[in-house]
Protein backbone atom coordinates (compact mmCIF):
# COMPACT_ATOMS: atom_id res chain seq x y z
CA UNK A 1 0.00 0.00 0.00
CA UNK A 2 1.16 3.48 -0.73
CA UNK A 3 2.50 5.45 2.20
CA UNK A 4 1.36 8.69 0.57
CA UNK A 5 -1.39 9.17 -1.97
CA UNK A 6 -1.97 12.62 -3.38
CA UNK A 7 -5.27 12.74 -5.23
CA UNK A 8 -6.20 15.57 -7.52
CA UNK A 9 -5.18 18.43 -5.21
CA UNK A 10 -5.85 22.06 -6.04
CA UNK A 11 -3.98 24.68 -4.04
CA UNK A 12 -4.28 28.45 -4.33
CA UNK A 13 -2.38 31.53 -3.25
CA UNK A 14 -5.31 33.89 -2.95
CA UNK A 15 -6.69 33.82 -6.48
CA UNK A 16 -3.63 32.25 -8.01
CA UNK A 17 -4.37 28.66 -8.90
CA UNK A 18 -0.96 27.10 -8.23
CA UNK A 19 -1.77 23.37 -8.22
CA UNK A 20 -4.35 22.32 -10.77
CA UNK A 21 -5.18 18.79 -9.86
CA UNK A 22 -1.98 16.99 -8.96
CA UNK A 23 -2.00 13.25 -8.24
CA UNK A 24 0.82 10.87 -7.40
CA UNK A 25 1.78 8.10 -5.04
CA UNK A 26 4.77 7.33 -2.91
CA UNK A 27 5.31 3.80 -1.67
CA UNK A 28 7.03 2.99 1.57
CA UNK A 29 10.79 2.90 1.12
CA UNK A 30 10.84 4.65 -2.25
CA UNK A 31 12.74 7.72 -3.33
CA UNK A 32 10.42 9.75 -5.53
CA UNK A 33 11.64 12.75 -7.49
CA UNK A 34 9.41 15.68 -8.40
CA UNK A 35 11.07 17.63 -11.16
CA UNK A 36 9.98 20.64 -13.15
CA UNK A 37 11.09 24.11 -14.02
CA UNK A 38 10.81 27.19 -11.87
CA UNK A 39 7.20 27.98 -10.96
CA UNK A 40 5.88 24.52 -11.88
CA UNK A 41 4.39 24.00 -8.44
CA UNK A 42 6.98 21.75 -6.75
CA UNK A 43 7.32 23.81 -3.59
CA UNK A 44 3.58 24.31 -3.35
CA UNK A 45 3.08 20.56 -3.59
CA UNK A 46 5.43 19.95 -0.66
CA UNK A 47 3.92 22.78 1.36
CA UNK A 48 0.49 21.29 0.80
CA UNK A 49 1.57 17.82 1.89
CA UNK A 50 3.42 19.11 4.95
CA UNK A 51 0.37 21.02 6.12
CA UNK A 52 1.75 24.53 5.70
CA UNK A 53 -1.00 25.07 3.15
CA UNK A 54 -4.36 23.40 2.75
CA UNK A 55 -5.61 22.25 -0.65
CA UNK A 56 -8.94 23.70 -1.67
CA UNK A 57 -9.89 20.44 -3.35
CA UNK A 58 -8.60 16.92 -3.48
CA UNK A 59 -7.28 14.62 -0.82
CA UNK A 60 -4.00 13.54 0.67
CA UNK A 61 -3.92 10.09 2.23
CA UNK A 62 -0.94 9.31 4.42
CA UNK A 63 -0.65 5.96 6.16
CA UNK A 64 -4.28 5.31 5.28
CA UNK A 65 -5.59 8.56 6.77
CA UNK A 66 -6.86 11.75 5.22
CA UNK A 67 -4.44 14.50 6.29
CA UNK A 68 -5.22 17.37 3.93
CA UNK A 69 -6.78 19.46 6.68
CA UNK A 70 -4.16 18.73 9.32
CA UNK A 71 -1.77 21.32 10.72
CA UNK A 72 1.91 21.05 9.97
CA UNK A 73 2.95 20.67 13.60
CA UNK A 74 0.60 17.72 14.06
CA UNK A 75 1.83 16.04 10.90
CA UNK A 76 5.35 16.08 12.32
CA UNK A 77 4.02 13.90 15.13
CA UNK A 78 2.70 11.50 12.50
CA UNK A 79 6.09 11.18 10.88
CA UNK A 80 6.20 13.77 8.10
CA UNK A 81 9.26 16.00 8.14
CA UNK A 82 10.28 18.64 5.65
CA UNK A 83 13.49 20.36 4.67
CA UNK A 84 12.10 23.62 3.33
CA UNK A 85 13.25 25.48 0.27
CA UNK A 86 16.14 27.75 1.20
CA UNK A 87 16.97 25.50 4.20
CA UNK A 88 15.21 27.56 6.84
CA UNK A 89 17.80 27.12 9.57
CA UNK A 90 17.29 29.27 12.66
CA UNK A 91 20.17 31.68 12.16
CA UNK A 92 20.21 32.93 15.73
CA UNK A 93 20.15 29.48 17.26
CA UNK A 94 23.31 27.42 17.47
CA UNK A 95 23.77 24.34 15.34
CA UNK A 96 22.98 22.13 18.30
CA UNK A 97 19.93 24.17 19.27
CA UNK A 98 18.65 23.81 15.71
CA UNK A 99 18.99 20.05 16.07
CA UNK A 100 17.23 20.21 19.45
CA UNK A 101 14.35 21.94 17.74
CA UNK A 102 14.21 19.12 15.24
CA UNK A 103 13.62 16.82 18.20
CA UNK A 104 11.04 19.16 19.73
CA UNK A 105 8.22 16.61 19.61
CA UNK A 106 10.22 13.82 21.19
CA UNK A 107 10.13 12.88 24.80
CA UNK A 108 12.01 9.58 24.58
CA UNK A 109 15.47 9.46 26.07
CA UNK A 110 17.30 8.70 22.84
CA UNK A 111 17.63 12.20 21.44
CA UNK A 112 21.31 12.41 22.41
CA UNK A 113 22.01 9.23 20.46
CA UNK A 114 20.33 10.61 17.37
CA UNK A 115 22.21 13.85 17.77
CA UNK A 116 25.38 11.84 17.51
CA UNK A 117 24.24 9.98 14.43
CA UNK A 118 23.43 13.36 12.87
CA UNK A 119 26.96 14.47 13.66
CA UNK A 120 28.30 11.19 12.30
CA UNK A 121 26.51 11.83 9.01
CA UNK A 122 27.84 15.39 8.79
CA UNK A 123 31.02 15.70 10.90
CA UNK A 124 31.30 19.37 10.00
CA UNK A 125 28.21 20.08 12.04
CA UNK A 126 29.87 18.62 15.08
CA UNK A 127 32.83 20.95 14.72
CA UNK A 128 30.42 23.86 14.55
CA UNK A 129 27.88 22.75 17.10
CA UNK A 130 28.20 25.83 19.33
CA UNK A 131 28.21 28.22 16.40
CA UNK A 132 25.17 30.21 15.34
CA UNK A 133 23.59 28.57 12.32
CA UNK A 134 23.59 31.92 10.55
CA UNK A 135 27.38 31.80 10.40
CA UNK A 136 27.46 28.51 8.46
CA UNK A 137 28.13 28.29 4.75
CA UNK A 138 25.27 27.38 2.42
CA UNK A 139 26.35 23.76 2.23
CA UNK A 140 26.68 23.43 5.98
CA UNK A 141 23.25 24.99 6.41
CA UNK A 142 21.80 22.41 4.04
CA UNK A 143 23.43 19.63 6.04
CA UNK A 144 22.02 21.13 9.20
CA UNK A 145 18.54 21.39 7.70
CA UNK A 146 18.65 17.72 6.70
CA UNK A 147 20.06 16.52 10.01
CA UNK A 148 17.47 18.61 11.84
CA UNK A 149 14.60 17.16 9.80
CA UNK A 150 15.77 13.67 10.77
CA UNK A 151 15.73 14.43 14.48
CA UNK A 152 11.97 13.92 14.58
CA UNK A 153 12.49 10.33 13.30
CA UNK A 154 10.28 10.76 10.24
CA UNK A 155 8.77 8.03 8.08
CA UNK A 156 8.42 10.43 5.18
CA UNK A 157 11.03 13.07 4.44
CA UNK A 158 10.18 15.91 2.06
CA UNK A 159 13.19 17.70 0.59
CA UNK A 160 12.80 20.93 -1.36
CA UNK A 161 15.74 21.58 -3.66
CA UNK A 162 18.54 20.46 -1.35
CA UNK A 163 21.13 21.12 -4.06
CA UNK A 164 20.12 24.73 -4.63
CA UNK A 165 23.10 27.06 -4.64
CA UNK A 166 25.62 24.41 -3.62
CA UNK A 167 29.02 23.74 -5.15
CA UNK A 168 29.17 20.39 -7.02
CA UNK A 169 31.27 18.74 -4.31
CA UNK A 170 28.67 19.58 -1.72
CA UNK A 171 25.83 18.47 -3.98
CA UNK A 172 27.49 15.05 -3.97
CA UNK A 173 27.78 15.06 -0.18
CA UNK A 174 24.11 15.96 0.18
CA UNK A 175 22.90 13.38 -2.32
CA UNK A 176 24.98 10.65 -0.74
CA UNK A 177 23.39 11.52 2.58
CA UNK A 178 19.92 11.32 1.04
CA UNK A 179 20.68 7.85 -0.29
CA UNK A 180 21.96 6.77 3.09
CA UNK A 181 18.83 8.08 4.78
CA UNK A 182 16.68 6.17 2.29
CA UNK A 183 18.67 3.00 2.88
CA UNK A 184 17.80 3.29 6.55
CA UNK A 185 14.13 2.99 5.64
CA UNK A 186 12.97 6.60 5.40
CA UNK A 187 10.68 7.24 2.44
CA UNK A 188 11.78 10.26 0.44
CA UNK A 189 9.97 12.77 -1.71
CA UNK A 190 12.65 14.85 -3.38
CA UNK A 191 11.94 18.08 -5.24
CA UNK A 192 14.73 19.19 -7.56
CA UNK A 193 15.46 21.47 -10.44
CA UNK A 194 18.67 19.49 -10.72
CA UNK A 195 16.84 16.69 -12.49
CA UNK A 196 20.04 14.94 -13.39
CA UNK A 197 21.05 14.28 -9.78
CA UNK A 198 17.51 13.60 -8.62
CA UNK A 199 16.81 10.97 -11.25
CA UNK A 200 20.09 9.23 -10.51
CA UNK A 201 19.06 8.37 -6.99
CA UNK A 202 15.27 8.16 -7.41
CA UNK A 203 13.17 5.07 -8.05
CA UNK A 204 10.46 6.95 -9.90
CA UNK A 205 9.81 10.51 -10.91
CA UNK A 206 6.98 12.88 -11.72
CA UNK A 207 7.41 15.83 -14.03
CA UNK A 208 5.44 18.91 -13.05
CA UNK A 209 4.44 21.61 -15.50
CA UNK A 210 2.36 24.68 -14.61
CA UNK A 211 0.69 23.06 -11.65
CA UNK A 212 -0.01 19.72 -13.28
CA UNK A 213 1.72 16.37 -13.60
CA UNK A 214 2.88 16.28 -17.19
CA UNK A 215 4.09 12.68 -17.04
CA UNK A 216 5.66 10.13 -14.77
CA UNK A 217 7.78 7.02 -15.10
CA UNK A 218 10.59 5.11 -13.50
CA UNK A 219 13.64 7.24 -12.99
CA UNK A 220 15.62 5.20 -15.50
CA UNK A 221 13.02 5.70 -18.24
CA UNK A 222 12.72 9.38 -17.47
CA UNK A 223 16.45 9.75 -17.90
CA UNK A 224 16.10 8.26 -21.40
CA UNK A 225 12.95 10.24 -22.22
CA UNK A 226 13.59 12.75 -25.01
CA UNK A 227 11.45 15.54 -23.60
CA UNK A 228 13.03 15.19 -20.18
CA UNK A 229 16.48 15.16 -21.71
CA UNK A 230 15.80 18.30 -23.68
CA UNK A 231 13.91 20.28 -21.08
CA UNK A 232 15.38 19.25 -17.78
CA UNK A 233 18.68 17.51 -18.42
CA UNK A 234 20.04 19.96 -20.96
CA UNK A 235 20.79 17.22 -23.48
CA UNK A 236 20.04 17.96 -27.16
Amino acid sequence: MALLEVKDIHTYYGNIHALKGISFEVDSGEIIALIGSNGAGKTTTLRTISGLMAPREGSIIYGGREISAMRADLLVLRGISMVPEGRGVFAKLTVEENLDMGAYIRSDGRVAEDLNSGYAMFPRLKERRKQFAGTLSGGEQQMLAIARALMSKPRLLLLDEPSMGLAPVLVDVVFEAIQRIASEGVTILLVEQNAHMALQIADRGYVLQSGEVAFSDTAASLQRNEIVQKTYLGID
Partner: protein, 354 residues
Amino acid sequence: MFRNKSGEFSWVDFTIDVLRVLIVLAVVVGAWNTLSSGRISLAQWVNLFAAGLSQGSIYALIALGYTLVYGILLMINFAHGEVFMAGAFSAFFLAEALNQTGFLNAQPILAILLLFMFAGLVSMTVAVLVERFAYRPLRGSPRLVPLITAIGASFFLQYTFRGLYGSHFKAYPQVQLLQGTLQLGDISIPVTQIFVFSSALVLMFGLHWLVERTRIGKAMRAVSENKEVARLMGIDIDWVILFTFGVGGFLAGSAGVINGLFRPQGVNFYMGFIPGIKAFTAAVLGGIGNIPGAMLGGLFLGVIEAIGPNLVLAGLGIPGANQLKDVIAFTMLVLVLIFRPQGILGERLSETKA
Protein backbone atom coordinates in the same frame (compact mmCIF):
# COMPACT_ATOMS: atom_id res chain seq x y z
CA MET B 1 27.99 66.75 9.08
CA PHE B 2 24.85 68.45 7.79
CA ARG B 3 24.90 66.14 4.82
CA ASN B 4 22.85 63.09 4.04
CA LYS B 5 24.26 59.86 2.69
CA SER B 6 24.48 61.07 -0.87
CA GLY B 7 26.55 64.00 0.35
CA GLU B 8 23.99 66.72 -0.30
CA PHE B 9 22.98 69.31 2.24
CA SER B 10 19.82 68.29 4.05
CA TRP B 11 17.78 70.42 6.43
CA VAL B 12 16.64 67.38 8.38
CA ASP B 13 20.18 66.21 9.01
CA PHE B 14 21.20 69.78 9.79
CA THR B 15 18.46 70.11 12.40
CA ILE B 16 19.29 66.75 13.92
CA ASP B 17 22.97 67.61 14.15
CA VAL B 18 22.23 70.98 15.74
CA LEU B 19 19.94 69.23 18.19
CA ARG B 20 22.65 66.75 19.00
CA VAL B 21 25.13 69.53 19.76
CA LEU B 22 22.62 71.45 21.86
CA ILE B 23 21.76 68.39 23.92
CA VAL B 24 25.37 67.54 24.59
CA LEU B 25 25.99 71.18 25.54
CA ALA B 26 23.02 71.27 27.90
CA VAL B 27 24.09 68.05 29.59
CA VAL B 28 27.70 69.17 29.96
CA VAL B 29 26.85 72.67 31.22
CA GLY B 30 24.17 71.40 33.61
CA ALA B 31 26.37 68.67 35.01
CA TRP B 32 29.31 71.06 35.35
CA ASN B 33 27.24 73.62 37.25
CA THR B 34 25.82 71.00 39.59
CA LEU B 35 29.10 69.26 40.28
CA SER B 36 31.08 72.46 40.77
CA SER B 37 28.48 73.84 43.15
CA GLY B 38 28.94 70.76 45.35
CA ARG B 39 25.31 70.95 46.32
CA ILE B 40 24.97 67.19 46.32
CA SER B 41 27.43 65.00 48.20
CA LEU B 42 28.90 61.77 46.94
CA ALA B 43 26.81 59.80 49.41
CA GLN B 44 23.72 61.50 48.05
CA TRP B 45 24.69 60.62 44.49
CA VAL B 46 25.10 57.00 45.52
CA ASN B 47 21.67 57.10 47.10
CA LEU B 48 20.13 58.54 43.98
CA PHE B 49 21.84 55.89 41.91
CA ALA B 50 20.60 53.09 44.15
CA ALA B 51 17.06 54.44 44.13
CA GLY B 52 17.28 54.70 40.36
CA LEU B 53 18.42 51.10 40.08
CA SER B 54 15.44 49.98 42.14
CA GLN B 55 12.93 51.91 40.10
CA GLY B 56 14.77 50.74 37.00
CA SER B 57 14.42 47.10 38.06
CA ILE B 58 10.68 47.53 38.01
CA TYR B 59 10.81 49.12 34.56
CA ALA B 60 13.08 46.33 33.38
CA LEU B 61 10.73 43.57 34.51
CA ILE B 62 7.80 45.21 32.78
CA ALA B 63 9.88 46.05 29.72
CA LEU B 64 10.71 42.37 29.30
CA GLY B 65 7.04 41.68 28.67
CA TYR B 66 6.93 44.22 25.86
CA THR B 67 10.09 42.92 24.33
CA LEU B 68 9.18 39.23 24.54
CA VAL B 69 5.88 39.80 22.81
CA TYR B 70 7.42 42.10 20.24
CA GLY B 71 10.13 39.56 19.54
CA ILE B 72 7.59 36.93 18.70
CA LEU B 73 4.70 38.84 17.11
CA LEU B 74 6.25 42.19 16.11
CA MET B 75 3.43 43.75 18.06
CA ILE B 76 3.41 46.18 20.98
CA ASN B 77 1.09 44.88 23.68
CA PHE B 78 -0.14 48.23 24.94
CA ALA B 79 -2.32 46.48 27.52
CA HIS B 80 0.83 45.33 29.32
CA GLY B 81 0.73 48.21 31.83
CA GLU B 82 -2.65 46.89 32.92
CA VAL B 83 -1.28 43.37 33.18
CA PHE B 84 1.17 44.82 35.68
CA MET B 85 -1.61 46.65 37.49
CA ALA B 86 -3.79 43.54 37.74
CA GLY B 87 -1.07 41.59 39.57
CA ALA B 88 -0.05 44.46 41.81
CA PHE B 89 -3.65 45.23 42.68
CA SER B 90 -4.70 41.63 43.36
CA ALA B 91 -1.66 40.96 45.50
CA PHE B 92 -2.61 43.94 47.64
CA PHE B 93 -5.59 41.98 48.94
CA LEU B 94 -3.48 38.94 49.68
CA ALA B 95 -0.93 41.15 51.44
CA GLU B 96 -3.69 42.67 53.55
CA ALA B 97 -5.04 39.27 54.47
CA LEU B 98 -1.59 37.95 55.32
CA ASN B 99 -0.98 41.04 57.40
CA GLN B 100 -4.21 40.61 59.33
CA THR B 101 -3.39 37.05 60.28
CA GLY B 102 0.09 38.20 61.27
CA PHE B 103 1.69 35.81 58.77
CA LEU B 104 3.21 38.65 56.76
CA ASN B 105 5.59 39.62 59.54
CA ALA B 106 5.87 36.23 61.20
CA GLN B 107 7.10 34.53 58.02
CA PRO B 108 8.05 37.46 55.81
CA ILE B 109 10.10 35.54 53.28
CA LEU B 110 7.45 32.92 52.74
CA ALA B 111 4.77 35.60 52.63
CA ILE B 112 6.64 37.59 50.00
CA LEU B 113 7.15 34.47 47.93
CA LEU B 114 3.42 33.83 48.15
CA LEU B 115 2.75 37.38 47.00
CA PHE B 116 5.08 36.91 44.03
CA MET B 117 3.42 33.67 43.03
CA PHE B 118 -0.05 35.10 43.41
CA ALA B 119 0.59 38.36 41.54
CA GLY B 120 2.58 36.49 38.91
CA LEU B 121 -0.24 34.04 38.31
CA VAL B 122 -2.91 36.75 38.20
CA SER B 123 -0.94 38.82 35.69
CA MET B 124 -0.08 35.71 33.71
CA THR B 125 -3.76 34.82 33.50
CA VAL B 126 -4.69 38.31 32.44
CA ALA B 127 -1.96 38.42 29.81
CA VAL B 128 -2.96 35.03 28.45
CA LEU B 129 -6.63 36.00 28.29
CA VAL B 130 -5.80 39.25 26.52
CA GLU B 131 -3.77 37.31 23.95
CA ARG B 132 -6.40 34.64 23.51
CA PHE B 133 -9.41 36.90 23.14
CA ALA B 134 -8.14 40.32 22.09
CA TYR B 135 -5.17 39.52 19.86
CA ARG B 136 -5.35 36.00 18.50
CA PRO B 137 -8.59 36.46 16.55
CA LEU B 138 -6.97 39.46 14.86
CA ARG B 139 -3.61 37.94 14.05
CA GLY B 140 -2.71 38.66 10.47
CA SER B 141 -4.79 41.82 10.32
CA PRO B 142 -3.15 45.22 9.71
CA ARG B 143 -0.96 46.48 12.53
CA LEU B 144 -3.27 49.24 13.61
CA VAL B 145 -6.02 46.79 14.51
CA PRO B 146 -4.36 45.01 17.47
CA LEU B 147 -3.25 48.45 18.65
CA ILE B 148 -6.87 49.49 18.91
CA THR B 149 -7.90 46.30 20.71
CA ALA B 150 -4.95 46.80 23.05
CA ILE B 151 -6.33 50.17 24.06
CA GLY B 152 -9.75 48.57 24.45
CA ALA B 153 -8.31 45.82 26.62
CA SER B 154 -6.49 48.44 28.72
CA PHE B 155 -9.66 50.37 29.39
CA PHE B 156 -11.54 47.17 30.09
CA LEU B 157 -9.00 46.13 32.72
CA GLN B 158 -8.70 49.58 34.26
CA TYR B 159 -12.41 50.07 34.65
CA THR B 160 -13.01 46.54 35.85
CA PHE B 161 -10.67 47.19 38.76
CA ARG B 162 -12.09 50.61 39.30
CA GLY B 163 -15.62 49.26 39.28
CA LEU B 164 -14.76 46.49 41.70
CA TYR B 165 -12.50 48.33 44.10
CA GLY B 166 -12.97 52.05 43.57
CA SER B 167 -10.36 54.58 42.57
CA HIS B 168 -8.57 55.18 45.87
CA PHE B 169 -4.96 54.31 46.32
CA LYS B 170 -4.46 51.35 48.61
CA ALA B 171 -1.08 51.01 50.27
CA TYR B 172 0.53 47.63 50.81
CA PRO B 173 1.06 46.80 54.48
CA GLN B 174 4.60 47.24 55.73
CA VAL B 175 6.91 44.29 55.99
CA GLN B 176 9.18 44.82 59.00
CA LEU B 177 11.97 42.81 57.44
CA LEU B 178 12.25 45.35 54.61
CA GLN B 179 12.38 48.43 56.81
CA GLY B 180 15.55 50.13 57.90
CA THR B 181 18.76 50.82 56.08
CA LEU B 182 22.04 49.14 55.46
CA GLN B 183 24.98 51.29 56.51
CA LEU B 184 28.15 51.17 54.39
CA GLY B 185 30.49 53.87 55.71
CA ASP B 186 28.66 57.14 55.26
CA ILE B 187 26.38 55.65 52.62
CA SER B 188 23.09 54.22 53.80
CA ILE B 189 20.93 52.18 51.49
CA PRO B 190 17.33 51.28 52.34
CA VAL B 191 16.82 47.54 52.72
CA THR B 192 13.79 47.75 50.42
CA GLN B 193 16.01 48.85 47.58
CA ILE B 194 18.33 45.93 48.09
CA PHE B 195 15.31 43.66 48.12
CA VAL B 196 13.91 45.22 44.95
CA PHE B 197 17.13 45.01 43.01
CA SER B 198 18.04 41.51 44.09
CA SER B 199 14.61 40.01 43.47
CA ALA B 200 14.56 41.61 40.05
CA LEU B 201 17.97 40.11 39.34
CA VAL B 202 16.75 36.66 40.35
CA LEU B 203 13.76 36.97 38.03
CA MET B 204 15.93 38.17 35.17
CA PHE B 205 18.35 35.29 35.61
CA GLY B 206 15.36 32.99 35.70
CA LEU B 207 14.14 34.38 32.42
CA HIS B 208 17.59 34.12 30.90
CA TRP B 209 17.79 30.48 31.90
CA LEU B 210 14.31 29.80 30.52
CA VAL B 211 15.02 31.39 27.16
CA GLU B 212 18.55 30.08 26.69
CA ARG B 213 18.45 26.65 28.24
CA THR B 214 15.00 25.09 28.16
CA ARG B 215 13.24 23.49 25.23
CA ILE B 216 10.32 25.89 25.39
CA GLY B 217 12.76 28.81 25.52
CA LYS B 218 14.51 27.60 22.38
CA ALA B 219 11.09 27.18 20.81
CA MET B 220 10.29 30.79 21.70
CA ARG B 221 13.42 31.91 19.91
CA ALA B 222 12.69 29.63 16.97
CA VAL B 223 9.14 30.97 16.64
CA SER B 224 10.38 34.53 16.85
CA GLU B 225 12.80 33.85 14.03
CA ASN B 226 10.64 31.87 11.61
CA LYS B 227 7.11 30.74 12.42
CA GLU B 228 6.69 28.54 9.40
CA VAL B 229 9.86 26.57 9.96
CA ALA B 230 9.01 26.36 13.65
CA ARG B 231 5.78 24.63 12.68
CA LEU B 232 7.79 22.19 10.59
CA MET B 233 9.60 21.26 13.80
CA GLY B 234 6.27 20.25 15.30
CA ILE B 235 6.06 23.37 17.44
CA ASP B 236 2.52 24.52 18.19
CA ILE B 237 2.95 28.23 17.45
CA ASP B 238 -0.21 29.32 19.22
CA TRP B 239 0.88 27.59 22.39
CA VAL B 240 4.34 29.20 22.27
CA ILE B 241 2.81 32.64 21.74
CA LEU B 242 0.44 32.09 24.65
CA PHE B 243 3.36 30.92 26.77
CA THR B 244 5.32 34.04 25.86
CA PHE B 245 2.48 36.28 26.95
CA GLY B 246 2.27 34.23 30.14
CA VAL B 247 5.97 34.67 30.92
CA GLY B 248 5.77 38.41 30.28
CA GLY B 249 2.69 38.50 32.51
CA PHE B 250 4.42 36.66 35.31
CA LEU B 251 7.31 39.11 35.25
CA ALA B 252 4.91 42.06 35.23
CA GLY B 253 2.97 40.65 38.18
CA SER B 254 6.19 40.16 40.11
CA ALA B 255 7.13 43.72 39.26
CA GLY B 256 3.75 44.66 40.69
CA VAL B 257 4.58 43.12 44.06
CA ILE B 258 8.01 44.70 44.07
CA ASN B 259 6.43 48.03 43.24
CA GLY B 260 3.86 47.61 46.00
CA LEU B 261 6.48 46.88 48.61
CA PHE B 262 8.86 49.55 47.32
CA ARG B 263 6.62 52.52 46.69
CA PRO B 264 4.54 53.67 49.63
CA GLN B 265 1.67 55.28 47.74
CA GLY B 266 0.18 51.92 46.85
CA VAL B 267 -2.01 50.62 44.08
CA ASN B 268 -4.97 51.91 42.13
CA PHE B 269 -6.65 51.10 38.83
CA TYR B 270 -4.62 53.66 36.89
CA MET B 271 -1.22 52.71 38.31
CA GLY B 272 -0.17 50.72 35.23
CA PHE B 273 -0.30 53.56 32.78
CA ILE B 274 2.86 55.54 33.53
CA PRO B 275 5.09 52.56 34.40
CA GLY B 276 3.74 50.87 31.29
CA ILE B 277 4.83 53.72 29.05
CA LYS B 278 8.13 54.05 30.88
CA ALA B 279 8.82 50.36 30.51
CA PHE B 280 7.93 50.60 26.85
CA THR B 281 10.43 53.45 26.63
CA ALA B 282 12.99 51.24 28.34
CA ALA B 283 12.32 48.43 25.89
CA VAL B 284 12.77 50.79 22.95
CA LEU B 285 15.87 52.22 24.59
CA GLY B 286 17.43 48.78 24.83
CA GLY B 287 16.28 47.76 21.37
CA ILE B 288 12.80 46.32 21.25
CA GLY B 289 12.75 42.56 20.84
CA ASN B 290 16.10 42.27 22.57
CA ILE B 291 15.96 40.66 26.01
CA PRO B 292 19.21 41.94 27.56
CA GLY B 293 18.31 45.27 25.96
CA ALA B 294 15.08 45.49 27.93
CA MET B 295 16.92 44.71 31.15
CA LEU B 296 19.61 47.30 30.54
CA GLY B 297 17.13 49.79 29.14
CA GLY B 298 15.00 49.54 32.26
CA LEU B 299 17.90 49.95 34.67
CA PHE B 300 19.34 52.75 32.57
CA LEU B 301 16.06 54.64 32.46
CA GLY B 302 15.59 54.28 36.20
CA VAL B 303 19.05 55.65 36.90
CA ILE B 304 18.77 58.48 34.38
CA GLU B 305 15.44 59.47 35.86
CA ALA B 306 16.90 59.58 39.35
CA ILE B 307 20.15 61.31 38.50
CA GLY B 308 19.29 63.34 35.42
CA PRO B 309 17.05 65.96 37.02
CA ASN B 310 19.49 66.62 39.86
CA LEU B 311 22.55 66.56 37.70
CA VAL B 312 21.47 68.31 34.54
CA LEU B 313 18.20 70.13 35.08
CA ALA B 314 19.04 71.56 38.49
CA GLY B 315 22.41 72.63 37.13
CA LEU B 316 20.67 74.56 34.39
CA GLY B 317 18.72 76.43 37.04
CA ILE B 318 15.43 74.73 36.27
CA PRO B 319 13.25 74.88 39.38
CA GLY B 320 11.60 71.81 40.87
CA ALA B 321 13.87 69.54 38.88
CA ASN B 322 12.76 66.41 40.67
CA GLN B 323 9.21 66.93 39.50
CA LEU B 324 10.49 66.53 35.97
CA LYS B 325 11.39 62.84 36.08
CA ASP B 326 8.72 61.96 33.58
CA VAL B 327 9.96 64.66 31.24
CA ILE B 328 13.38 63.04 31.32
CA ALA B 329 11.92 59.63 30.55
CA PHE B 330 9.90 60.78 27.60
CA THR B 331 12.65 63.03 26.30
CA MET B 332 14.81 59.92 26.30
CA LEU B 333 12.18 58.11 24.25
CA VAL B 334 12.03 60.89 21.69
CA LEU B 335 15.80 61.17 21.52
CA VAL B 336 16.25 57.46 21.02
CA LEU B 337 13.63 57.44 18.30
CA ILE B 338 15.45 60.29 16.55
CA PHE B 339 19.06 59.27 16.97
CA ARG B 340 19.05 55.52 17.38
CA PRO B 341 15.68 54.00 16.54
CA GLN B 342 17.05 50.48 16.86
CA GLY B 343 17.90 51.11 20.51
CA ILE B 344 21.14 50.57 22.34
CA LEU B 345 21.50 46.86 21.66
CA GLY B 346 18.97 46.48 18.90
CA GLU B 347 19.40 45.68 15.28
CA ARG B 348 17.91 47.87 12.62
CA LEU B 349 14.20 47.29 12.57
CA SER B 350 13.50 48.64 9.17
CA GLU B 351 15.51 45.98 7.42
CA THR B 352 15.15 42.86 9.49
CA LYS B 353 11.74 42.77 11.05
CA ALA B 354 9.44 45.67 10.49
